[in-house]
């Protein structure tokens, strides 16, 4: 089921937090709403499921405008951050609750619950209570309960935030597997770029109540539309240098760095922010930049280096593990000119 937000507006009292937002989630797609805390992503999610009333615009499921419908009539499955399982009910009764509210027959409920339990791998837990489950198991139950009614849309609010690192990896692929198997349209709210990139078909990145860019993870990483997007994606993060254009190059204090060829004719003195991802320094490229290694951070498979090329100007490089470079070594590494990400004074990509 395709989900469309048209001029969706949400205000709390007089404070407009989301103004005329437009977004389309394709049928069967998993889309991430990514952004920092307070950017309005959860507000959007709660508006879609009907917890928040909207102040303007439309929310369409397919062709059906559900903007004014109460939650009960929207047919949306929601997984809350803390799972919100019903503590007094067994796992079976938790999953059965949406069906029993709908008035399904005992046999139908039993059949559907067991089928859903099989899909989420919790067949052995059906007689337990939520307090007897681990975080990952509770997550599976919450997913099963959200999906058992065969909703039009599945909404996930920070579903992995309460899990430890190892479980998070496991549930990441599990949620994706279940979403693909059911073919349901899903919206994932998260502030974790890794989660968004690894689980979703497309990412809508938000800041201050606005969607900045909607794209596939690779595309968004490769070609961010703004400084904010470039800074939000990527780990280790991008290095951002503030300087100006000088003779077709980028100048900062005494240092001069190349710019992509398409910017050769930028007017003199134009302020530019130059974003350099760690993987674009020290691997391949034409122009060599020399400096002193000022920090070394081994990460197992790779090593992260900070290279000071002038007073206060530090580039970052990530490379396959190498032991020949120690703190304080002088290096001369190449910069991949065409992959640099230059932005103008307003933070828009050049």
């Amino acid at each position: 089921m395709q989900v469309t937000l048209k001029d969706f507006t949400k205000a709390f009292d007089d404070l407009v937090v989301i103004d005329k937002m437009n977004l389309t989630v394709k049928d069967g797609e998993m889309l991430a709403l990514l952004g920092p805390s307070g950017c309005g992503k959860s507000t959007t999610l709660f508006a879609i499921c009907g917890i928040h009333r909207i102040n303007g615009g439309q929310i369409l499921f397919g062709d059906r405008d559900v903007g004014e419908l109460p939650s009960q009539k929207r047919n949306v499955g929601v997984v809350f951050q803390n799972y919100a399982l019903y503590p007094h009910l067994t796992v079976f009764d938790n999953i059965a609750f949406p069906l029993s509210v709908r008035g399904d027959s005992e046999q139908a409920i039993d059949r559907d619950v067991r089928a859903m339990a099989a899909m989420t791998h919790i067949e052995d837990l059906l007689h337990r209570r939520p307090s007897q489950l681990s975080g990952g198991q509770q997550q599976r139950v919450a997913l099963a309960r959200a999906l058992v009614r065969k909703p039009d849309v599945l909404l996930l609010d920070e579903p992995l935030a309460n899990l430890d690192a190892k479980l998070r990896l496991e549930m990441r692929s599990e949620i994706r597997r279940i979403q693909l198997e059911t073919g349901i349209t899903a919206i994932l709210v998260t502030h974790d770029q890794v989660e968004a990139m690894s689980m979703c078909d497309r990412i809508a990145i938000m800041n201050k109540g606005e969607i900045l860019q909607v794209a596939t993870p690779t595309e968004m990483y490769r070609a961010p539309v703004s400084k904010f997007v470039a800074g939000f994606l990527g780990n280790p993060p991008i290095v951002m240098l503030e300087g100006r254009a000088e003779a077709g190059r980028f100048a900062i204090d005494s240092v001069s760095l190349p710019l992509p060829a398409r910017l050769a004719s930028t007017p003199e003195g134009t302020p530019i922010s130059l974003g350099i991802r760690p993987e674009h320094f020290g691997r391949e490229g034409a122009e060599a930049i020399s400096g002193v290694v000022s920090f070394v951070e081994p990460q197992g498979r790779e090593t992260l280096f900070d290279v000071t090329i002038a007073q206060g100007v530090v580039l970052r490089s990530i490379q396959p593990v190498r032991s020949d470079i120690a703190l304080g070594s002088s290096v001369s590494w190449v910069l991949d000119t065409e992959h640099l990400l230059p932005f103008d004074a307003n933070g828009q990509v050049l």
């Binding site: 939650s71 503590p87 959200a146």
Partner: protein
């Protein structure tokens, strides 16, 4: 548990202060089944004659009628207070009520208000409604005085239920009423149980209201019955008999406390676990 101070001096002081009360309680119980020589403290003979009031109505009048009345009095209170508190507490905790703050402070004021000061007004209302000198009237007044406390306590319990549970229920397609009945109410069951017991004990012990609002009626509750029995100007006056009736009157409360003391504790710590 390890302690960083000596325990026994505190126990000793507390024991000394409590001793007179504890000893009198003990003798209350002992005296009901013994007789002692006049002027003597120590019992001399075991007897059950003081408990004859249980079956011999000639002694002090029928005791089972007042017992039944007291039970009805307390139970009715429990039913009404629980019904009103479980719904009103929910509304105050969760719904966007107009004048919610006013309501809340009103409840607090009502809870803190000494009931005695309202008696004249209550008397006038009952008189007007034709409920003066009736059991129903007394029950309604006592219940009314207990409801603010009940609502306040239940609001506290509802506040502890995570709102996501409620939202999850709504998303699962349940109406607000179904959510309340099937998902939220079970979470506050410990609160309802403690409140119920508390109100029952409160009703069971009530003396002032029946005495003042139904002075010449044809019913007695146990407290007014005990009051009548302990009037030293009667021909039948027997101190040990009074003690027996008193013990009979307190037994159900002692039993409730013994069984449910842990439950009653959490009414003041304000909520459920898990």
């Amino acid at each position: 548990m390890s302690r960083n101070f000596a325990f026994w001096p505190i126990i000793l002081v507390l024991a000394l202060i409590t001793a007179p009360l504890a000893i009198m309680y003990l003798f209350l119980a002992i005296d009901t089944v013994t007789t002692s020589a006049p002027g003597s403290f120590w019992p001399t003979r075991f007897t059950l004659e003081h408990w004859r009031f249980l079956w011999d109505a000639k002694l002090t009048g029928d005791v089972w009628g007042p017992t039944a009345t007291t039970f009805i009095f307390a139970s009715t209170m429990v039913v009404i207070v629980l019904t009103v508190s479980s719904t009103a507490g929910y509304a105050i905790s969760r719904l966007n009520l107009p004048f919610r703050r006013l309501f809340l402070s009103g409840i607090l004021v009502m809870h803190a208000f000494p009931a005695v000061t309202l008696l004249i007004g209550v008397f006038l209302v009952l008189q007007f409604a034709g409920l003066y000198n009736t059991l129903i009237g007394v029950i309604l007044v006592k219940t009314g005085f207990s409801i603010p406390f009940g609502v306040w306590i239940m609001k506290g319990f509802y506040d502890q239920v995570p709102w996501e549970i409620e939202m999850a229920g709504v998303q699962d397609g349940a109406s607000r009423f179904t959510v309340w009945w099937r998902l939220i109410l079970p979470q506050v069951k410990p609160g309802l149980l403690s409140l119920g017991i508390f109100v029952f004990i409160d009703g069971w012990s009530e003396f002032m209201l029946p005495r003042i609002l139904a002075p010449s009626s044809n019913f007695d509750v146990l407290s007014t019955y005990l009051n009548r029995v302990s009037d030293p100007d009667t021909a039948q006056y027997n101190f040990n008999l009074v003690k027996s009736v008193g013990l009979f009157y307190t037994l159900p409360i002692l039993a409730l406390y013994a069984v449910f003391q842990n439950r009653l504790m959490n009414i003041f710590s304000g909520g459920t676990k898990g």
